[in-house]
Amino acid sequence: MSQEQENISTTAPSQATLTAKDIPPPGGTSILRISTRTAIILLWYCIAFTALMAATYFATKPAIEASAAAEKLQMINAVLSKDQYDNELLKDTITLPATAALGLEENTTLYRARKGGEAAAVILEAIAPDGYSGKIRLILAVKANGELAAVRVTEHKETPGLGDYIDPKKDRNKSRPWITQFNDVGFEQIPQAEFKVKKDGGRIDQMSGATISPRAVTNAVRRALEWTLSRREALFALPSGQTLEEK
């Protein structure tokens, strides 16, 4: 019991505890002097540990940037396979302003994939604002022929085990996850008016019991596809690094 008391109590004086008396302040004991001295010591600790953090920051910076780029590329490769483009698409980008049709409230980056110099696909983000619990963030690849290459959910808060099958990692159907219905389809395969979940009279399947999440995703995909198709040329023509201006 005494052991526990010794460990828990923080005020119990012991021989190794430091007190103000242990280190006599040089040059008098006025309150001002003691305060100044203490403040200077604290300042030195701040400088020393800030320097340590700065050193770590510079040592880890290249590795952190490399893995951030790799992560971005991994996400892009999930919606557009590597054999469909041959340019450095992380460097062929334009900035999209906040766009209501895509559900975006802030600037995002659109990546452009090209093969042999020809336009191959654009990769853009969209947000479905009407998920069951908040926004669902999507990444889409739209091929130059007007079809979607694929769609993935990058962020969502849908109920685990119910609506979260919109994310293929959570989908129990591993061979053909729900979201792969959007692979290689465009408005030619599924007309605009039928690009809805079956419950709304469309042609996109949904699982019974959880309609809200797939409905939100499907509608957001349709809106994003409409938006992209109506300005396909402009998206590819704009010089890299510029911001898309909407009239």
């Binding site: 190794a16 242990d22 010591i41 893995s67």
Partner: protein, 223 residues
């Protein structure tokens, strides 16, 4: 002065940071959805605690008594930031899962508690060991909690372990479509933790009762 044996017993059982002191509930509830996440965050905490206890113990002669708490917090925050950046750089996949919890180590009061209660008055090696074993005790409890929650919640064991140790794989113990929501959601953690604390208290009470009975027996014999 406590011996290494006592320090170890304190960290793992007698003063276990979760089961006995009930400190650090935030990571306990947030990361224990499976064994891999829970135990990894536990080990990261143990690492930070060993570092912070060691650093404070080495510097304890140069830390004025009046400003020791701000200096302790500064040291802990700096170490956590460094671990955070190092993990982001060199174990990126693990960082993607634990990333948002690493800064929470700062707010886990067990770190400051051990620095103040132990490292500020003990030599560096002992302090480092105390920090590590306290953190390891925490990691063990988080691990058990994570293991039971993933088994009850989604019927798997060690899922996601390939992120930490490539080559290993988790098991699907129960049928693929098995699902029990409360295991995955935070209330499940509260309920299970309650059971674990109860078991610990029961074992302790039994040990104390046995000791008292033995003492009484001895008294009777000598009398």
């Amino acid at each position: 002065m406590s011996t290494y044996r006592e320090i170890t017993a304190n960290g793992l059982w007698k003063q276990n940071s979760i089961l006995a002191q009930v400190l650090g509930m935030c990571p306990t509830l947030a990361v224990t959805t499976n064994f891999t996440n829970a135990f990894s965050l536990g080990l990261a905490t143990a690492f930070v605690m060993a570092l912070s206890n060691g650093a404070v113990s080495l510097l304890r002669a140069f830390i004025p008594y009046e400003i020791r708490i701000p200096v302790f917090i500064l040291i802990i925050a700096a170490l956590v930031t460094i671990v955070d950046m190092a993990m982001n750089a060199w174990t990126h996949d693990l960082y993607l899962i634990l990333g948002i919890f690493i800064p929470l180590i700062v707010t886990n009061c067990i770190v400051l508690a051990r620095v103040e209660a132990f490292a500020a008055k003990n030599p560096a090696l002992k302090s480092t060991w105390d920090g590590f074993i306290m953190g390891f005790g925490l990691a063990l409890v988080l691990g058990v909690l994570g293991l039971s929650r993933e088994l009850i919640g989604q019927g798997t064991l060690f899922s996601g372990i390939e992120v930490v140790i490539p080559g290993l794989h988790g098991f699907q113990v129960l049928p693929e479509d098995y699902n029990f929501l409360i295991g995955i959601l935070p209330p499940g953690a509260f309920i299970l933790l309650g059971f674990m604390i109860a078991v610990r208290n029961w074992l302790d009470a039994r040990a104390t009762a046995a000791k008292q009975a033995a003492a009484r027996q001895q008294q009777l014999q000598t009398a």
